[in-house]
């Protein structure tokens, strides 16, 4: 059942490892890129103006360190170990299946000037750092911390930083995971709590580091107080609305009984959006209006934010807030490669 845990960090790392030639100048991820591509699952619950984002970083084999940068719509209040069965329970709700896993806390990496470190957390074999800064600053922070970003990263980081200058950097240490006894497929659930005006799911970033024809498979669960409005509407554009219905009482009760999930309301609407697209298809994000009226075109990436600059460091403006939601890291992630890994090329 563990294989159903969504782990985008390791998964994405896997993508990088497998898409990059083992012998090209300057840099490569771990010596053995034998990581398995697994499906990604993320949960974005929205209630009382707070986004609860739960995803799982999955150990998919290989060694060395893998990382991801995830754009967030706002500054998280908390980043903590996720509950044990939230994702599995959601999967079971829409497809009869099962799954599970675990975590801890500590400090992470020091920040250089430029990007501002807002929060550092250690969860199992995962180091998480929340950063504030423009695309260039965050990219520089990542580079200075030993990562190698894919060539599209500078543009994509700016794309997101112009909407919200908050990013979550996650480093998954495969060697530490092995030492902890984690097996391939084991996930580390992470729960990020973000006050925001609306949920938001970055999708474009899922294609980062991939070839145009590479497939992206991911499941996004949204729990909102009422039926949400989505933009783009999931229909024939690499997205499918696989489930859209009033959340069952049994689901809400089960979710509420998991660790850190007591915020789950007594009633809500459950949507499941399946991403089944080529990387080149994902040129947009998923904007959500939790009240069911008009999702932001800016949030969907269909329109540039007003006064957009190449590399902003300010907080999101009011209309950007509309797009704010959860940094659906679930999927998204700029996968990074440790320079400390054997550099080949």
């Amino acid at each position: 059942m563990r294989r159903f845990l969504a782990g985008f960090a390791a998964v994405a790392a896997a993508l990088i490892a497998t898409t990059q030639p083992a012998a090209a100048c300057a840099g490569l991820i771990g010596p053995n890129g034998a990581v398995n591509l697994l499906r990604t699952t993320t949960f974005a619950g929205y209630h009382n103006g707070v986004e609860h984002y739960v995803t799982s970083f999955q150990f998919a084999g290989g060694s060395g360190q893998f990382g991801s940068l995830i754009p967030l719509p706002g500054v998280p209040d908390k980043v903590e170990k996720g509950g044990a069965w939230t994702l599995q329970r959601l999967i079971r709700e829409t497809t009869p299946i099962k799954g599970f896993d675990s975590l801890l806390i500590r400090s992470a990496i020091a920040a250089p000037q430029g990007a501002q470190v807002l929060l550092e957390v250690r969860i199992d074999a995962l180091d998480i750092t929340v950063l504030k800064g423009g695309g260039a600053e965050v990219g520089q922070w990542a580079t200075e911390h030993g990562f190698r970003l894919p060539p599209a990263a500078p543009e994509v980081l700016d794309f997101y930083a112009n909407r919200s200058p908050i990013f979550l950097a996650a480093v998954f240490d495969a060697d530490a995971a092995k030492a902890r006894g984690q097996r391939i497929g084991d996930g580390t659930p992470v729960h990020v709590t973000i006050p925001t005006a609306n949920p938001w799911v970055p999708l474009r970033i899922l294609g980062l580091g991939k070839s145009a024809d590479d497939r992206i498979d991911a499941d996004v669960y949204l729990l909102t107080d009422q039926r949400p409005a989505l933009l783009p509407y999931p229909l024939g554009n690499g997205m499918r609305l696989d489930h859209s219905a009033v959340a069952t009482t049994s689901l809400l009760d089960d979710l509420r009984s998991d660790k850190g999930m007591d915020w789950v309301p007594q009633a809500g609407w459950l949507s499941k959006i399946a991403i089944d697209a080529s990387a080149s298809q994902l040129t947009y994000d998923l904007a959500v209006d939790a009240k069911g009226s008009s999702p932001s075109r800016v949030a969907a990436g269909l329109q540039a934010p007003a006064g957009q600059t190449g590399s902003s460091t300010g907080g999101p403006g009011n209309d950007q807030i509309a797009l704010i939601g959860i940094a659906l890291a679930a999927l998204g992630a700029i996968f990074l490669l440790r320079k400390s890994q054997p550099v080949i090329g």
Partner: protein, 135 residues
């Protein structure tokens, strides 16, 4: 009428030839290439043969790049190479984030040479350009 047309065509050809010759003589010996969003801002550059040409390479990105110029054999070696950083060869320049580097080369043969960033995925992403060496 036909003769007039032929004369006009001949004059036009002569003018074009003169222009080509003049521009070749005036080809730049200083070239600036900027890298932004993992693309070179110039991908076709004409330079003169036999005189030193100085390249100023500006990396605007927060990630590492490199500028390697040479023939296909050079690039084949780098695609399968093992050097993380290129230091002391004037045709192989490593460009850390937000850096500016200068290198001077003298080309002794006419023809095209390619410049490429060989970091993983960068060439496929489009970090390729051509320097045409003209006599």
């Amino acid at each position: 009428m036909i003769i007039r047309t032929l004369v006009a065509l001949a004059l036009a050809a002569l003018a074009a030839s003169a222009c080509t010759t003049a521009s070749a003589a005036e080809l730049p010996t200083h070239v600036a290439i900027r890298i932004h969003y993992s693309h070179f801002d110039q991908t076709k550059i004409d330079v003169p043969m036999g005189v030193p040409v100085t390249f100023t390479l500006i990396n605007d990105d927060p990630i590492d790049h490199e500028w390697l110029i040479g023939d296909e054999a050079v690039h084949a070696r780098h695609r399968a190479g093992t050097e993380a950083v290129h230091g002391d060869r004037p045709n192989e320049i490593s460009l850390p984030p937000f850096s500016v580097r200068t290198t001077t080369l003298t080309f002794d043969k006419p023809g095209p040479l390619t410049f490429i960033c060989h970091f993983p995925q960068h060439e496929a992403y489009g970090m390729v350009g051509v320097v045409m060496v003209k006599p």
